[in-house]
Amino acid sequence: MNKRSSWALPYFIFMVLFVVLPLLMVVIYSFQDSAGNFSMANFSKFITDKDSLSTFALSIEVAIENTLLCVIIGYPVAYILADKKLNKSAVTVVLFILPMWVNALMRTLATAELFNMAGITLGKGTLLFGMCYDYLPFMIYPIYNVLNKMDKSYAEAAEDLGAKPKEVFMKITLPLSMPGVLSGVMMVFMPTVSTFAISEFLTNNKIKLFGTIIQENINNSMWNYGAALSLLMLAIIAITTFLQGKSSEDTVDGGAI
């Protein structure tokens, strides 16, 4: 038995080389100047640069707004899809996931073009709408999964104990579906906070998000500053992951069973 645990060794080496080492590179580059000496210049540049700071804040704001929007729009969809009385067909569920298979950039371009045709100027509004459109399926699917697997007898037990339909939802269904909401939040927040191409298309380059700045710096050979910005983004990801892990520990408690 013990011998077979060594089968993971090649993958371990691969991971160290192509996952751990690259992340280490991000750290190393971000603490160096272009000549390769240790330096905090990249970070002090970020703190003093008003543009970078406001982009950073805007990125987080947009990501949070988009995530909330996805929850508000996506939760009812997932709820309706999972309710056997309201939706009987599994094909409807597939229809909601299907758009994800079409190239995201192409869809985004078409969305932007639709806005143009409708005479809506591209800006923050269209950015939010477009991003919500792109990531909505990622929110619907995990919530739907949890709701669909949820034992119906929980709701019946609550009703049996005197809960009105609204109370059943607030006290039972909603809390028990939180693990799905949380993984949906992760799946939407992470890509939106780091996106670059999508935001460029949706605002016609008017609004820059953090991803775009990283991309521009790397492409313009400002590797050290790009690495420092990447490290900041990593920090956001780490914090969100930590928070998600903590809150799902609190709520899950067998809710997924």
Partner: protein
């Protein structure tokens, strides 16, 4: 009657697809009694419980409680509570919040909730478990919390849907005793659903035996066990030998090739009947003198308290016998049965009867297929009644050689042959006597020889 708490009348329910789950159920439940709905899976017992709880609406009929109509009232407004099959404890709430759930919704003051929760926890012997996470509890403990969560609301009626099914045998036995005691202490009405006949016999004041959406028998455990009204009940409750017999005259019945004295009257002379003999009621001795019939012991197995034997009788029937003494396999034994222990039942039917239509003078359509028959001289389109003897129906493995097909839904061993109930694709039932062994749910092909199909023209009564 004033002591009736629930009255169910003409209750019917079909599920999409047309199969009747409940078929004109009439039943009343007395205040304070422990009533059990007993039957095999799919007999409609859970459907009935869910209708009383309000999770399902009947197609027809009514359920009243204390004279007030319940149908149409949503579950949360019904003055009864349910203990669910797999407990359905809310996983995101601890023991206290689970039990307090109903009380909080009703707006009961905090300190009263505290009092009632700790009182009910004491009742189910789970004090000090208030803060525990429900997922950390064992099956038996979850069971107690589920009961506590229901009875804390002081329902007039407690519904229990196979509450012990998920527990292991030892735990189940313990909980049975506790449930019985709890029922006595609380004094409220229990409606209990189970497929376990032993559990039903142990717990209930009244047992309602159900099969295929119909009530088969209502009675006390003693009634049901000692005087089953039909072969289904006899077979489902306890072990039994069910045999074909003939009522020679009052107080005398013939079966397994012998005549016996019995206590039943009023069947008429030479009437075909079903006879039920419980295995423990056969007196078995190694002495052959004085025995009513003899036989050879085929097998003998120790069952803990008694021995269970299969004996081939002198006329070729097989009987199951339970006795405290063991008898050597291969030895010849003498047996007798007390008149009191012979339970005689009317036969529900003596042959198959179908409605059919003539397709030509020698072809008749029934059971969704066209059968060749002897020339009748009738014309195509004539409506006829077809009768076929149980032992004249051929069952085939190969569907393609059969005229119609069906599934085996019920098997009864009659000592020297099997009596099968087949449900055809057209939804009709065919009863078949056969020596071949089939399993429940087997798909069988049905064929009947032309000479075995008896046809009479249906009298047209306009």
């Amino acid at each position: 009657m004033t002591d009736r708490i629930i009255n169910i009348s003409h209750l019917s329910k079909s599920f999409p697809g047309g199969s009747k789950v409940l078929d004109d159920i009439n039943l009343y439940i007395r205040k304070g009694e422990f009533l059990t709905l007993l039957g095999p899976s799919g007999c409609g017992k859970t459907t009935m419980l869910r209708m009383i709880a309000g999770f399902l609406q009947p197609d027809e009929g009514s359920i009243t409680m204390d004279g007030k109509e319940l149908t149409g009232v949503p579950p949360h407004l019904r003055p009864l509570n349910t203990v669910f099959q797999r407990y359905a404890l809310f996983p995101h709430l601890d023991v206290y919040d689970n039990i307090a759930f109903g009380l909080k919704l009703k707006g009961v003051p905090e300190d009263e909730i505290d009092k009632r929760v700790s009182k009910v926890l004491k009742l189910v012997s789970m004090s000090d478990y208030e803060d525990r996470d429900v997922n950390s509890l064992s099956g038996g403990q979850q069971q107690r919390i589920a009961i506590a969560r229901a009875i804390v609301n002081r329902p007039k009626v407690l519904l229990l849907d196979e509450p012990l099914a998920a527990l292991d045998l030892k735990m189940r036995k313990d909980m049975q005793i506790e449930l019985k005691e709890m029922h006595k202490k609380l004094g409220i009405t229990f409606i209990y659903v189970t497929h376990d006949q032993e559990e039903a016999l142990t717990l209930s004041d009244t047992i309602v035996v159900m099969n295929e959406g119909k009530i088969q028998q209502i009675g006390t455990p003693m009634d049901i066990y000692n005087e089953p009204v039909n072969s289904f009940v006899a077979d489902f409750i306890g072990e039994s030998n069910i045999l074909n017999g003939t009522m020679i005259k009052d107080r005398e019945v013939s079966f397994i090739g012998h005549d016996f004295k019995c206590v039943d009257e009023g069947f008429g002379e030479n009437a075909p009947v079903d006879v039920v003999i419980r295995p423990e009621d056969v007196i078995i001795k190694s002495k052959l003198e004085g025995a009513q019939f003899t036989g050879k012991v085929k097998s003998c197995t120790f069952k803990g308290v008694h021995y269970e034997m299969f004996v081939d009788t002198d006329n070729g029937y097989e009987m199951m016998i339970q006795d405290y003494n063991s008898f050597e396999v291969g030895s010849t034994v003498g047996m007798s049965i007390n008149p009191n222990d012979i339970q005689v039942m009317h036969k529900e039917r003596v042959c198959n009867t179908f409605e059919g239509v003539m397709k030509s003078s020698d072809t008749v359509e029934f059971l969704g297929g066209e059968f060749k028959c002897l020339d009748t001289g009738l014309e195509a389109g004539d409506k006829v009644t077809v009768t076929v003897k149980f032992n004249k129906v051929d069952l085939l493995d190969h569907e393609d050689e059969a005229i119609c097909t069906g599934n085996v839904v019920f098997i009864l061993y009659k000592g020297d042959h099997y009596h099968l109930t087949i449900k055809t694709e057209s939804g009709e039932k065919v009863w078949v006597d056969t020596d071949d062994i089939w399993d429940k749910n087997d798909l069988v092909g049905i064929n009947i020889l032309p000479k075995d199909i008896h046809i009479t023209k249906t009298a047209e009564n306009e």
